[in-house]
Amino acid sequence: MSESLLQAPPAAEAFANQPDWLREARQQAALRFDALPRPSRTDEAWRFSNLRAFDPQDFTPARPVALEVTDSLLPLSLGADSHAGSLVFANDKLVARTRSAVADQGVIWLPLEEAIEQHPELVQRYFMRSEALFGSAKHLALHQASVRTGTFLYVPKGVKVEAPLQAFHWIAGSGQSIFPHTLLIAEEGSSVTFVDWFKAHSDSRNLACGVHDLHVGQGAEVHYVSVQDWSRQTVALHSNATVVGAGGKAVHLSLHLGGSFARSESVSHLRGAGARSEMLAATVADGAQEFDQRTLQDHCSPDTSSDLLYKNALYDEAKTIFAGLIRVAPHAHRTDAYQKVRNLVLSAEAEAVSLPGLEILADQVRCSHGATTGEINAEELFYMQARGISERDAYRLITYGFLNEVIERLPENSLRVRLQEALQARLAGH
């Protein structure tokens, strides 16, 4: 990452009426970013990673897009049929929002800069409170110093939002950097589904460095879906931290489709007794794409459970890295944790790396992981071909079925359909 990444507009320009604590935090972050060393391959957190993706590049903070570009983006920012509200951002600037009835339920649903103005205490309590894991301190600092907008979603105690809320983050132009942010707080007993769509206006090289944090209160239930569909030349770094309170439940599903080098880091801190987290991801990797996935299932309380399922389909010379850890702290007794990564290798050159880990320091736990890497079963192919399906279609159908198993885990039907369409579109060329 180059120095030029830091030539962001002064923080005061980013947020009008920026409170002192935020100005200071951002200045500190900028200093931290300068001081921290670049990741090296001897860091366990970057093992097998292609660090050339971090060579200095001429990315500059994204400039506002032209009106006609915005006009072309809006018809493509639809999402699920039955959504309860949308925010549309282009190059880190809010360009459209739909009227939403959720405000009537007391839900705060705002772009981050408005939330800072209207609810500074709430933002201060939750904004970038997670420690940097996965050797990501440097790019988290970059994000904190450079973030300009994003989604702030606060669901009060007991409120249940039925239809999904969604945000679109577009990037347009080339050599631009954006810093999408998601901050979701679900108070005790509430429930909500939120979707982030990450999309590119054109097939050019840009940088996206996002932070997506979820705070799931006692007995609350959150579904968070992210569809990463950046251009095939984009360098993408996405960090997610989810904190789940007692009896709460978080489901985080990611669809990874775009990017030249796309790193996604995801941690679930199961903080309260009986907390549950599901971590799901489906990835299509082709060309020279590299997907670098790091996860942590952090069991810090008794009777917590987690279930991770990551599936990767690899074509051409693509590479995927999955490094996941289940960590069970002392006293987190009766933990039930599961982790499964499955790689479907569809070419002679693709490479799948799996690093599934366990660190267990408690008693009466049930933890297991499985990692498999293989190709399409010849019998399945034969079965389809015998029924008149061409080999190429059979390959694609089996691959789709393999990944769709992840999407099927989502309860919300209209959203599921949109994700399946995105997956089908992505596989269409194969």
């Binding site: 070419s347 002679a348 693709a350 790396v353 690093l355 366990l358 267990i360 992981h369 499985g370 190709e375």
Partner: protein, 470 residues
């Protein structure tokens, strides 16, 4: 369990815990420098190429950092300046027990070595501190051309064979401790099995540390020529000293076309020993290498036996059992490097953590591109006995290209209270019930072991479980 089977093998921790006063003729003193290397080389009367090899290795050792960015920080507690790197009475092992010095003889007799040799072994080598004191093999094997000697003799008597393979499977710079071994190695076995010869009975080596503040650095090289078969077993003990002892071996196996090597280890070092061992095999076409690795003793063991599957249809296997009790960290695992088509590998690792013990599995499975029909299966199961016990699993699996199949599974579980209750209802004590459960946990793996070892292992587990409940 009959008393006869008990006495057949000795890996009992208490029986190894004794030592005799030192009477060493050769002592390289404490600390490590190029002078230490020269001392060892002079005493052994080695050719120049070995002396040079040692000096270069020492430089590599000095230049390499401790691997504490991923490994246990307990490594920092090894004080290299305080360790004695070479201690020996004589340079040549005897072929007869009668000529072995009395106190050394008593040591091995207490450990039951001569008895075992008579009963079922094809050959025995006994190493006491730095050098082998006794080495013998059944005459018939010698007539078939089988070589089983110490590494020093192997170098002197079979220089071409030795030079051809020595340091080729595990290069000096592989890791800090392989470099250390390469600089100061002494003892260990050199085995050559000629083409087509199948050694029916196992060859055994016995490693004993008697001295305090000592480092044992044996070096073993086994070459199984085309179509031959051999099984090698090693056992090890040391008395409990207040200070740390270092054991850092390098073991290289070469299985040529169609050869089979089985290498069995029952490691029962006392709980003050740092056991940092590099073990690796090369399997040529259709060859099979099987590591059976049981780690019960030591303070910290770091050992990941590996197989480089170099020839088509080669097969590698690691069966590993680790038991970590209070004050112990068993950091063990396996490496399988697939380098040819249709190679297969299998790793089954079971670990048991008791009290404050910690066991870790670390594995590497590598299938580079353009290979077809490679298969790996890995299973890691961990059993936690107490709430203070810890277990970790850190595998790394890289697969390039379609046409290969890899599966890895790991699980962590406990002995369930219901099981224990069920057995107690039927009159077993809690400790007996616990032992039975743990033995059941490892049973399917132990069945794969040579019979003598499975019996012994069960007994050891019983011993370890005695104080673990309540």
């Amino acid at each position: 369990m009959s008393t006869e089977t008990l006495s057949q093998l000795d890996v009992d921790r208490t029986r190894g815990d004794f030592h005799y006063p030192e009477q060493h003729t050769f002592d390289a003193g404490s600390g490590l420098s190029h002078a230490t290397v020269d001392y060892i080389s002079n005493v052994k009367g080695e050719p120049d190429w070995i002396r040079e090899f040692r000096h270069k290795a020492l430089d590599v050792f000095f230049s390499k950092p401790m691997p504490t960015h991923w490994a246990s920080e307990d490594l920092e507690n090894i004080i290299f300046e305080k360790i004695r790197y070479y201690l020996a009475n004589a340079q040549r092992p005897t072929r007869s027990w009668d000529e072995v010095p009395d106190d050394v003889k008593r040591t091995f007799e207490r450990l039951g070595i001569p008895e075992q040799e008579r009963k079922f072994l094809a050959g025995v080598e006994a190493q006491f501190d730095s050098e082998a004191v006794y080495s013998n093999m059944k005459k018939a094997l010698g007539d078939q051309g089988v070589v089983f000697v110490g590494s020093t003799d192997g170098l002197k008597e079979h220089p071409e064979l030795f030079k051809k393979w020595f340091g080729k499977v595990i290069p000096t710079g592989d890791n800090k401790f392989s470099a250390l071994n390469s600089a100061v190695f002494s003892g260990g076995s050199f085995i050559y099995v000629p083409p087509g010869v199948k050694v029916k009975h196992p060859l055994q080596a016995y490693f004993r540390i008697n001295a305090e503040n000592f480092g044992q650095f044996e070096r073993t090289l086994i070459i199984a020529d085309e179509g031959s078969e051999v099984m090698y077993m090693e056992g090890c003990t040391a008395p409990k000293f207040e200070t740390a002892t270092l054991h850092s071996a390098v073991v290289e196996l070469v299985a040529l076309k169609g050869a089979k090597i089985q290498y069995v280890t029952v490691q029962n070092w006392s709980a003050n020993v740092f056991n940092l061992v590099t073990k690796r095999a090369i399997a040529h076409e259709e060859a099979e290498v099987k590591w059976i690795d049981c780690n019960i003793g030591s303070r910290l063991t770091m050992k990941y036996p590996g197989v480089i599957l170099k020839g088509r249809k080669a097969r590698g296997e690691v069966l590993s059992i680790a038991l970590a009790n209070n004050g112990q960290h068993q950091d063990t695992g396996a490496k399988m490097i697939h380098a040819a088509d249709e190679t297969t590998s299998n790793i089954i690792a079971k670990s048991i953590s008791i009290g404050k013990g910690r066991s870790s599995y670390r594995g590497l499975v590598h299938i580079p591109k353009h290979l077809k029909g490679c298969k790996n299966n890995t299973e890691c199961d961990a059993l936690l006995i107490n709430s203070t016990s810890r277990t970790d699993t850190y595998p790394a699996i890289t697969v390039r290209g379609s046409g290969n199949s890899v599966q890895h599974e790991a699980s962590v579980s406990q002995v369930s209270a219901e099981q224990i209750f069920y057995m107690q209802q039927r009159g077993l004590s809690e400790a007996q019930a616990m032992s039975l459960s743990v033995n059941g946990f490892v049973n399917d793996l132990v069945r794969e072991f040579p019979m003598e070892y499975s019996v012994e292992l069960k007994r050891l587990i019983d011993l370890e479980m005695e104080d673990s409940v309540g």
